[in-house]
Symmetry: C2
Subunit: 351 residues, 2 copies
Amino acid sequence: MTSPPLPAPPASLRELRPAVARECLRLESTLLRFGAARGQSLLLAVSGGGDSTALTVILALLAPRQDWRLHVCTVHHGLRAEADAECGQVQRLCAALHIPYHLRRAPVRELARAAGTGLEETARKARYALLEEVRQQTGCRWLLTGHQREDLCEDQLMRLLRGTGWPALGGMSDCDPERHLLRPLLHLSGKKLRQWLRDWGVPWSEDSSNDDPSFLRNRLRHTVLPLLEKENPAYGDSASRLRQLAQLDAAYWESTLDAALALTPWQQTEESITLPRALLRAHPAAVRLRLYLRALRCLSRRHGGQARAERLLALDAAWQEGRGNTRFQFPGGLVAVLRGGAVTFGEDGGA
Amino acid sequence: MTSPPLPAPPASLRELRPAVARECLRLESTLLRFGAARGQSLLLAVSGGGDSTALTVILALLAPRQDWRLHVCTVHHGLRAEADAECGQVQRLCAALHIPYHLRRAPVRELARAAGTGLEETARKARYALLEEVRQQTGCRWLLTGHQREDLCEDQLMRLLRGTGWPALGGMSDCDPERHLLRPLLHLSGKKLRQWLRDWGVPWSEDSSNDDPSFLRNRLRHTVLPLLEKENPAYGDSASRLRQLAQLDAAYWESTLDAALALTPWQQTEESITLPRALLRAHPAAVRLRLYLRALRCLSRRHGGQARAERLLALDAAWQEGRGNTRFQFPGGLVAVLRGGAVTFGEDGGA
């Protein structure tokens, strides 16, 4: 990996090939549509890999047009020897582009040991916590990440493997207002982004852990995904559209559940949520399963864990049979208890 | 392949291991729930492969309990040298089980040449046409096929590759009343069915074309599917559950669209369907896309072809922008025309 002391990325959209400039302008309108309004401050999460490096260069080209104030943050996980050099490279790029640079360190090994969690999961949690901290410190409205189409494909396959239901099966969203998170590159292929960087003479660092076959994500990237792309070279487009359809359905289900709960409200206390018999009887299985899921999600903000479709189907089958005093365990120490046609979700022991 | 002159399959559920007998009884209640009522005649589509051979033996065990009258039909495609021997083997099994046997021949090569279609697609169409004919001739209420869990997994992957939306992504259904079609083995693995046949000493013929890598289905079976099963040994269960969730959602969308169309009905002539502005404005994108799809399906019963999510999304984007006098082509020679906020579907040239 060559890293010249000061990269010279393009200074204006006019320096790009017309087709690339058009893609950048499309990205600009996507960001505006998501709510990244003119004059806002935006924080970019940049590891120094091809995706986030491309994100940085593209946003630097768009920022003057929309008066966006950019910040860049790298989280150093202390896991790989090359990380220092990678941070240095991001810092040089930011200097060349006049973007304020923020370096944060997460002692991932120590954190993982203390919490008894895996390195990958610990790194992800620590990274997002630090990025959120920097977002607030810098007064940024949004955090932008470099997730692209291959990441989306992997995410969908992992969800398919786990037996995730719909619309969650569609994969990560390009706009998550609750987490102030935007993924504007999600419809673009990483190969294309790297080609742009090569054309522009901007160096990047390929993270060696992306090839580590001990991570499921990497195994899918290097084995299953190439087979699917061989069968359908436009598979990435299919995956993008599946995500798009999933987001439309997610919005539909949000408002449909809101409406259902407004008509026959649930009973919520600090520790439990009860879906009354009248509410459940008013709706078909497709709605009931999503009501269970919403109740579990409300409670699991404190408890963590993710309900599997299998358990939700078993719960609903028991409800349909009219079983009473039956308990179903869910992740995060939660249970569902059937009683008189109502279902109460709560902590195990509490409900 | 050994094929003894008269196989001696188990004569009663009592001869089976208890766990296997329980699975057969579960299959019996599934069939009853689908509407295969006591005393009905059922036609089994049997190629002589492991799946349909197991279907035959299991149904022969259940038939006396429910007074089901069984018929078996094999469609000989005239494509493989072994097909004559395979038909003979099915015939011997039926003789041993006292099930009336029907052999039909489809001149697939000639049909494909005449219609200019692929062998696989031609064989499938000809097979189902002949099976439907035999179903009516024998007065059978249902046609049962031997599709099992691996078939379902392959089907889901092919749909994922093609960019199929939800709930169609969930794959083939286990109960299709419109086609009088039941797939009672869809939740069982082919490996398990073959193990049962071995235990019972019932021979079957493995269709050599199942290994032919010129078919997408076989490539997925031999490359992608084993990788997914390696990552999650219970992947087949996940696929089954996804199908189950999809069927619940399909039922939901059927009745939701019915209700939407009952409030603001569409205009339908012999050649076209118009979704009026008031109807489309009353619903979010998730519903509008499915209304387009339903209109196209109504018309394509005569015209064939399947709309891709990409085109439906493009149509809806144009509708949202309020574009007028815009045409969108769809498979089967169909078009959608936007005019004054309404969308009219019809034959190209006709609408």
